[in-house]
Each structure stands twice: as C-alpha cells, then as structure tokens.
C-alpha cells in the first residue's frame, strides 16, 4: 500500500467543447471578436460594432435586451457593458461605451479590426414577451439609452405585438444626445419620442428641464386604463430611478411591471467576485434588470 494521492484533472474531455453555465471551462471562456466599426456618437461616447469571428460560435451567441457582456482587451482590462443592439442579430452586437476609465479610454483609441474578447451574455433581461399586448414606457436618462436601445429594437421588430410605445429621454445638454440619427426611424415605427435637455443651447427647440417634467405632461394626456395596461422600463443614473419610479407608482403601475437596470462594478459577471453586490444580491446574476418591487426590497440599491 503506498501513500501517493492521485491527481484529479477537473476538466474532462467532453466538457471542453461547450460553454454552458455549469461547466468548469465556461468560467474563462472567451469568444474572440472583432471590432468591425466604430461610430462616434458624442464627444464622450462611441458605438462599437463587435462581431464574433467564428460563425458557429456567433450563431450560438443569443441574448435578451438588457443583458450585458464582459468585453476584454487583453492586457488592458475587462468590464461589463450592456448590449445596445437588436437581439435578432446573433454574435454581432453593438456596445455604446462612454470614455470613463482605463479600459474605455484605451478602447476609444483602438482602430477597427482590433480583436477583443467577449464573455457572456450575462444577467437578466427585460421580459419583452410578457409585455406583449401592453403599452410600453421606455424612460432613459443619459447613457441609460444604451441598454434601452436593444429593447427599442425588439419593439420595432415586433411592433404589431405592442400597443402604444413611448420613449422619454433626457440628457444634460443637446450635445450629449445619443443615437440622434435613429429618431426619425423610431417615430416612423409609430413610437412616440419625447426628448428633454437640462441645459439647452441656443439651437435647441425642444423642452428644457428634468425628465419628470415630460412625464407629468405625458401623464396628463393618459387615462386610468392606460396605466392599467402599461409596462415601464427605466434606465439612467441612480438619482433618476427614485423620482421616476415614484411617479409611476403614483399612477398605480404595479411595481412588478416597472423594470430598472442597475449599474455596478463587476470583475467576473458570474456571481463570484462580489463587487456588484447590492445589499447581498449579485447584480450580475439576479440583475442588472430588476423589477422595482425587488429593488425596493434591496438595501442601498438606489
């Protein structure tokens, strides 16, 4: 009888081929992707179109509006970004990214053709199918339009399945408006778009003020049955959630029909690093999309 322990290799051959949540090799599995175009949206934000290189892997990559990916530039870093594009396009996504830190500043200087790593998709999405047959309020503040754009694309693709669709969008000033080139197309698809800026410039012809002002105007035009049959999605800075969601609650929209997307620091996206915890809930697993009832029950969420 000897005393040597046998080495156990945790990766069995058959596991190496897949990227499933419960396989060990899913943990650091990276899709290799290429930045195919970079579209400058504002001084601070670019829209990156990123395509998974292997066509088979690309097909395998499907997501729901509201979900996020971890984008990696080897040697520079990795960070979470909401997917901004239509879920109908698999493995070929768009990410609207603001220059805010090391990775995103570096990203703003790379050329198209650069290869990046993608992990995901991670987290929860907006339950678009549940919303069918209902009115939808899509409320975005600033960069909050980035995750909403995926939901908008879903609505456009399935326009006949939804009643009235309103986008309410507010930014600091007109130069920060994102996706301005798409507004006409949204309107053509019978989506009402109301935009407000906090600090108008001389050329600005629309309303000025906070996003709640537009909501007040809009709510005046709607009756009780409207709110009874309405879902709302709210994306924006934390300070906006409270005001907007309170207003929606006052109109008796059930909290479980209001969805918000939370931003947190993330280092893994898989419920391990704990950096995204709100109270003690992992934003990467149970979020980033939460219904407002859940958010109310989380400590320190908004």
């Amino acid at each position: 009888m000897n005393g040597k322990l046998e080495f156990i290799d945790i990766l069995r051959e058959k596991e190496k081929k897949y990227n499933r949540q419960h396989d060990f090799n899913a943990f650091e599995f990276t899709y290799k992707a290429e930045i195919t175009t970079i579209h400058k949206l504002t001084q601070m934000e670019n829209l990156y179109r990123v395509r998974i290189i292997d066509p088979e892997q690309g097909k395998q990559f499907s997501f729901q509006p509201g979900q996020f990916v971890m984008l990696e530039l080897p040697g520079i870093g990795e960070a979470p970004f909401s997917i901004s594009s239509s879920p109908l396009r698999h493995g070929d996504i768009e990410l609207c990214i603001r220059k805010a830190g090391n990775l995103t500043n570096f990203l703003s200087r790379v050329e198209r053709g650069t290869r990046v790593g993608l992990r995901g998709p991670f987290g929860t999405g907006f339950p678009m199918e549940k919303m069918e047959g209902q009115n939808i309020l899509l409320i975005a503040g600033g960069l909050g339009l980035a995750p909403l754009r995926s939901a908008i694309a879903y609505v456009q693709a399935n326009r006949s399945r939804f009643n009235t669709v309103d986008i309410i969008y507010g930014t600091k000033d007109p130069s920060q408006l994102l996706f301005a080139y798409q507004y006409d197309v949204w309107r053509a698809d019978d989506i009402t778009l109301s935009i407000i800026v906090e600090e108008p410039d001389t050329a600005w012809k629309g309303p000025a003020g906070l996003i709640t002002k537009i909501l007040e105007d809009l709510f005046r035009k709607k009756d009780k049955t409207f709110f009874k049959n309405t879902y709302a999605i709210v994306c924006g800075p934390p300070v906006m959630f409270k005001f907007v969601c309170t207003m929606l609650s006052q109109k008796d929209i059930p909290m479980q029909k209001m969805f918000v997307s939370l931003e947190r620091r993330m280092h893994c996206g898989m419920g391990k690093c704990c950096r995204c915890n709100v109270g003690s809930t992992y934003t990467c697993l149970k979020g980033p999309v939460f219904d407002y009832w859940t958010v109310m029950n989380l400590k320190e969420a908004i």
Binding site: I8, L11, N25, G279, T281
Partner: protein, 347 residues
C-alpha cells in the same frame, strides 16, 4: 461512517507515509508574539515533529492553498491586433492538510456552495479543492471562538478523516476510501465500548468550554430591519478600512481582476487578487461614483453578506465563528460585539 482508534505514536507513521510522496500542509509555530505566546501558521511540513497538533488558531486561515491571494487566471500572447488566450488552473499535484480544525473545514464547505455550485463553478478553486486530502483535528475552544453559535464547531463532511485527541490515542472518523486505504499503512483498532463512551464524554466537555456566543436567532431579519441603525455609524467610526478581517477570514472570497502587459508588449496576463469589501474602491464604478463611499457602509455590507445574504441563498451563514477577524482587527472590532449591538443588547 467508519470509526477507528489510533495510538498516538502511530500518527507519525501515517504522516511519514503521506509525506513521502505528497505535499503536506499543517499547523506550525511561525514565531512568538510580544507576550511570548506562539503564533501559528499553516505551512508545508516534511517533519512530523514540526507540526503543532495542539495549536490554538492560526493567525491566517489556510485559504492561500485554495484561494491564493494572487493568481493568474489567463495569459495572452499578443500579435498586433490579434491575440491568443491561454488558461491555466494552476495546480500540479494534490495537497494533504494535516490537522484542520472543524471551523476551517466548515469554511471550505461554505465556499464550495458558492464556488462549486451549479452556476459558473470556478475551475481554479475546483482544481485545488478536488485535489485535497484533509485530516481534521479537534480543538480546544479559545476565548474568541464562537463557532458553536454559528453551527460550525463540528464538521460533518468535507474532510477525509477527523481525529479527536483522547489522551494516549486518537478517535478517528473515516469518511473517504482514500483515508481508509491510507490507514492500512498503520496499526488501527476498532473502538471498544469504553473508547466510544470516552469520545462522547470528551465532545460533551468541549461544548462546555465555549465562553463567547452570538445570538443568531432571527439574525437575517434583524440585520434587514436595523439597516439604518446608528450602531453601524459607531462601528464605522472605529473601522480603519484596512481589510485585514477579509484577509484572515477563511470564507472571504471576494476579488478583483487586473490585466497587465509585459514590457515586451507581446505578452499579457489576467490576474485575480483577493480583495476586501472594506477597502474604499470596492464598489466604485468607472467615472468615479462610489456606491459605498463611507466606512460604515462598507463594514455593514460585510456583515450583511455574511449573516444575511448567504443565509438567504444557502440557509446558513458565511461566518464559521473562528474569531480570526476580531483577533486581527487593529480597532478591536469583533463579530460578537457588532452583532450584539445591532440586536440592541447592552454591552
């Protein structure tokens, strides 16, 4: 379960058999503190005489062997705009842990729940955890131990073999066939009636030696109710936000990831480093917003995660009551004191 009794002198033989072909980690005396008391640490041992089987608690848990403070997750070869990723789970051969106390075994069991669960199991941890052979060892409750309150004073699984000191011999619980086979190398005996009764008596005596306890009744709810309590501010005032508690904790697994480029620009690596939720930038996002800017918010979060969040997810606390954090804390913040104050008990 299979039970055996092992004469004390036989344990050395077992060690020699195991150490001949494996890496063995055990409690050793690493130095002395200013009062001349020994400071214990887990370290690799090749000589049985260096193992301190009567150790109290190591200052730092054994986690560097399964959750290293720093670990490369992947390496990259960079070639212009393209790159190639290489993943390494960083394990070559198994480890034998000789003499882990019940709290540290329970800590592993708790870590297993989150790191080996069905959602994204962590291969870096799994590779080490599955290549561990653990010999547990009973202990003498210290003035800072509250493992009994946390239900972690007894290990029911997560080890291969557990030894209880009965004077001239050890009472052994054998949990794995690997352990059973190893024991064929030494002389063992079936426990007689007297041995079994003596074991029961020793366990009962041990239970009576605990001096500190934490009332965990309804604790998850109480933490939720008292989220805005002023006591958090008081503890926040004391806390130095140094993160020592997390570093010595056997169950803290939070981490950060950093990527670095080699000076030749052709290689890069992705490194995982254990972190602490008490450090200031733990929840700071790009652009500068910090979701937990204040020390009390971060200290509170640590308790919230351990004693509420984990309870919600797994119906048990993430704390094993080893007391290391309180012993290591420069501001003398201890778990029993914090929890008692949140419960509104007079201190």
């Amino acid at each position: 379960m299979i039970f055996k009794v092992i004469k004390k002198e036989e344990l050395k033989h077992l060690f020699d058999v195991l150490a001949a072909e494996n890496r063995v980690v055990g409690p050793v005396e690493a130095g002395r503190d200013s009062n001349g008391r020994p400071i214990y640490a887990f370290d690799q041992v090749s000589d049985f005489n260096n193992i301190c089987l009567d150790y109290t608690t190591t200052k730092i848990s054994a986690k560097r062997y399964f959750l290293p403070y720093q670990e490369d997750l992947a390496g990259f070869r960079i070639d212009g705009k393209d790159w190639h990723k290489k993943i390494n789970y960083n394990i070559e051969s198994p480890y034998i842990f000789f003499g882990l106390h019940a709290c540290d075994i329970n800590a592993l069991n708790k870590l297993d729940k989150v790191l080996l669960g069905s959602v994204y199991p962590m291969p870096y941890y799994a590779a080490k955890r599955k290549n561990m052979f653990i010999i547990g060892l009973d202990c003498i409750p210290q003035p800072y131990c509250f493992c009994r309150s946390m239900g972690a004073d007894t290990a029911l699984h997560g080890f291969d073999m557990f030894l209880t000191d009965m004077g001239g011999q050890y009472f052994a619980e054998i949990l794995s066939d690997t352990a059973f086979n190893f024991l064929k190398n030494i002389k063992t005996a079936e426990p007689a009636y007297a041995d079994r009764m003596r074991y029961i008596k020793i366990i009962a005596e041990k239970k009576r030696k605990f001096t500190v306890r934490v009332d965990t009744t309804d604790l998850a709810n109480i933490l939720d109710m008292e989220f805005q309590s002023d006591v958090w501010k008081q503890w926040g005032e004391k806390c130095l936000a140094c993160g020592t508690c997390s570093q010595v904790c056997p169950t803290c697994y939070c981490y950060g990831v950093e990527e670095t480029v080699n000076i030749n620009f052709h290689e890069a690596k992705k490194t995982k480093m254990l972190y602490s939720c008490n450090l200031i930038d733990f929840a700071q996002v790009a652009g500068g917003h910090n979701f937990r800017l204040k020390r009390d918010a971060r200290l509170k979060y640590r308790y919230y995660h351990k004693h509420r969040g984990f309870v919600e997810a797994y119906e048990e606390s993430l704390c094993v009551g080893c007391g290391r954090c309180g012993e290591a804390c420069l501001a003398e913040i201890t778990v029993p004191a914090v929890i008692s104050s949140v419960r509104g008990e007079e201190s």
